[in-house]
């Protein structure tokens, strides 16, 4: 591995981001003081279940949550020194789809059904580069479609999204996202709607796109397999908080948060044994009235009803020298307990 990504200047820094939604039932605390950095060229995996705040934190940074009911309570999202949360809608539009681009889960609802794929791609290019002539944009479109592996790109550019299969639509989405050579690429569950053999194709395309653009990629997913396969570093989120951060080998070989270890033990492994799965007990917490103290404590095997877990929110703190952070009061108790949990081979084999 070359020098660690964390040695460089981050391209994107989220600081103390807090987002709420007003609903009939009360205020939903979707994101609670989330901070993390994204470094140039890296793939940062963001893992969490539905309701963990993994998508909302990204959407709010890009001005994509409806306000109201949403409200950004505080925090910063620094992109190359500018706070995205303070930008005017027009300024944010220039950044969105240009410097920061997105790939969504469902390509059918993200593509315009009444425009051909070529028209949409060329619109995406020309919106950010007004000087580019239509003809020039079109040849770039064909080039992009070829890059993402759409066969017969000349003909395919003239077709509408409904004439594309699911996998092809996702390729078109990726082409659109990288059209303006973004420096940050956000992929929110990019393969969840796809079959596994198509997913394998899309992951190859995503890697190729990343090689081409050198974009920092934020891969948002609930699939630990995808994270293991794609990510350089990992952020684990639970109940609107970051609970663990580390490089991918460290997270899988020596997780230091009971939620992370719980997740790893609860999924069946393709090459695993016949043991019973070890589920995380209970339900994800209500975000309207989250538990006091550590939000994970009611489901935690480590907490054991300890006072501190019930009263004090554990800060995200370094637990060893490897830029490994955990938000557990008793993270050190996991040392020796969790080694080799996610990985079958010893760590450091990379």
């Amino acid at each position: 591995m070359p020098e660690p990504a964390t040695a460089r200047e981050p391209v994107l820094s989220i600081r103390d981001l807090t987002v709420e939604f007003s609903t009939e039932d009360g205020v939903v605390h979707a994101v609670n003081g989330v901070s993390y950095d994204v470094y140039p060229g890296e793939t940062l995996g963001i893992v969490g279940e539905s309701g963990s705040g993994k998508s909302v934190s990204l959407m709010s940074m890009l001005g994509l949550i409806p306000t109201p009911p949403g409200r950004i309570v505080r925090g910063e999202a620094l992109y190359r020194g500018r706070d995205l949360l303070k930008l005017k809608p027009k300024e944010l539009r220039d950044i969105r789809g240009g410097d920061i681009a997105m790939i969504f889960q469902d390509p059918m609802t993200s593509l315009n059904p009444v425009l051909t794929v070529g028209e949409q791609l060329s619109e995406a290019i020309r919106a950010h580069n007004p000087d580019v002539k239509e003809k020039e944009a079109l040849s770039r479109v064909v080039e992009l479609l070829r890059l993402v592996g759409v066969p017969n790109p000349d003909q395919r550019a003239k077709q509408y999204p409904h004439e594309y299969s699911g996998g092809m639509r996702q390729r078109a989405m990726i082409a659109m996202a990288i059209a303006n050579a973004p420096s940050v690429l956000i992929a929110d569950e990019p393969t969840t709607a796809l079959d596994v053999t198509i997913q394998a194709q899309i992951l190859e395309v995503l890697k190729a796109a990343q090689r081409e653009t050198h974009a920092a990629t934020l891969l948002v997913t609930h699939d630990l397999g995808l994270i293991a396969e794609m990510a350089d570093r990992v952020i684990v989120m639970y109940a609107g908080r970051v609970v663990e951060v580390g490089d991918v080998m460290t997270i899988f070989s020596s997780p230091r948060h009971p939620y992370t270890t719980g997740l790893m033990e609860s999924i069946p492994k393709l090459g695993g044994g016949d043991d019973w799965l070890r589920p995380i007990p209970g339900q994800p917490p209500s975000l309207i009235s989250p538990p006091a103290g550590c939000p994970f404590h009611p489901r935690c095997f480590l907490s054991n009803g300890r006072q501190r877990c019930r009263t004090e929110v554990p800060p995200l703190r370094p637990i060893d020298e490897r830029d490994h952070l955990s938000a557990c009061h008793f993270a050190e108790e996991l040392i020796g307990e969790t080694e080799g949990l996610g990985a079958r081979s010893p760590e450091g084999v990379s």
Binding site: V196, P268, P279, P284
Partner: protein
């Protein structure tokens, strides 16, 4: 996962209870075509070959996993088995009786023994009924367990699936996805069936909740000697729950065998590609596994390729693959494979 417990079933006059390891369900040459209609007079212009000649058997107490990608016909097959969808051709033999031509009334009796749990716990429970009404509905329809006994049985069922009897007075919207799926499972157990069809039972649930429901299904199987037809697209999950596994592609079973045969010694190129495509939860394996990335998409089931249906995406395809449909037979590897060029490739060597 097969059980060795010999609990006696719920007594009364019902179909013979198949002993462990005995054949409970047999499907022969099952075909389901859906018509494609178009134009002013809705003339039939073609048909979708959803299930196209499937033979399967299920033995009492075992779990048969049915895997494949969307559109392969696994859901249609599972619904045809319980006759929510009428088969076009073929035979379904359940507990020794040919139920293929059974009327709705006759099927009602069969459904005491064979129940289905659906994927979406939000759509499969009536929002206007209390949990107690939902779970007792099968008993009401079948006129079983009157009054006090029925009430006790609902409480017992709720406890069995890890809910409490007090939950019975609430409505489905008051429950999380995992709890709703438990309610659906309680309902499916109400008549003490021999077999459950589980159609993607956990794919709508959160990752941390899935294991709870899977463990519940496994312990219920042991407790009640249930036979499972487990339909899912998640290969790791199917490996975990199944005794035997059938792999489907475009309406046909392409390979079938014990769990260890399918996952340890797959012989069909499609099975091999599927297994190699699953991301593995181990970053140290990255780049070390040989990945087969298939080209192209699944062809339309309205117009499947001639010969072997997988040949359009197969790296081994030859002339014969276009001309001759490969039969699902043992080609010398100990389990049936529908490939002219079947050979073992160990995925985790």
């Amino acid at each position: 996962m097969s059980s060795t417990l010999d609990t006696t079933p719920g007594g009364d006059a019902r179909t013979a209870y198949a002993g462990d390891g005995q054949e409970l369900l047999r499907i022969e040459g099952l075909v389901k075509y859906f018509p494609i209609r178009a134009g002013l007079f809705k003339r039939q212009v073609g048909q979708v070959h959803a299930v196209d000649g499937v033979d399967l058997t299920l033995n009492a107490g075992e779990t048969l996993g049915l895997v494949g990608e969307s559109g392969c016909g696994k859901t249609t097959l599972s619904r045809t088995v319980i006759k929510l969808v009428e088969p076009t051709e073929g035979k379904i033999i359940f507990a020794g009786r040919d139920i293929t031509g059974f009327s709705r009334r006759q099927m009602r009796e069969v459904r005491r023994e064979m129940q289905i749990v659906f994927q979406d716990p939000y759509a499969s429970l009536n929002p206007r009924m209390t949990v107690r009404e939902i779970v007792s509905e099968p008993m009401r329809i079948h006129g079983l367990y009157g009054g006090r006994e029925r009430k006790d049985r609902v409480s017992e069922l709720l406890r069995t699936v890890g809910l409490s009897p007090e939950h019975g007075n609430r409505f489905p919207h008051e429950f999380s996805g995992g709890q709703r799926q438990r309610i659906g499972i309680a309902r499916s157990l109400a008549l003490n069936p021999q077999m459950l069809i589980l159609d993607e039972p956990v794919s709508a649930l959160d990752v941390s909740i899935r294991a709870q429901v899977i463990n519940l299904l496994e312990s219920l199987q042991q407790e009640f000697r249930l036979t499972y037809l487990f339909v899912a697209h998640d290969l790791s999950l199917v490996r975990h729950v199944s005794d035997r596994v059938a792999v489907m592609y475009l309406g046909k079973v392409v390979e079938i065998g014990t769990r260890d045969q399918i996952y340890g010694e797959p012989t069909h190129p499609y099975t091999q590609a599927l297994l190699s495509a699953v991301p593995v939860e181990d970053p140290s394996m990255r780049g070390k596994r040989e990945r087969i990335v298939l080209t192209g998409d699944v062809p339309s089931p309205a117009n499947p390729p001639s010969g072997c249906r997988f040949r359009t995406r197969c790296w081994k395809a030859q002339q014969i693959c276009a001309e001759e449909v490969p039969a699902l037979v043992d080609r010398g590897h100990g389990h049936p494979s529908a490939c002219h060029f079947a050979e073992v490739v160990k995925p985790f060597a």
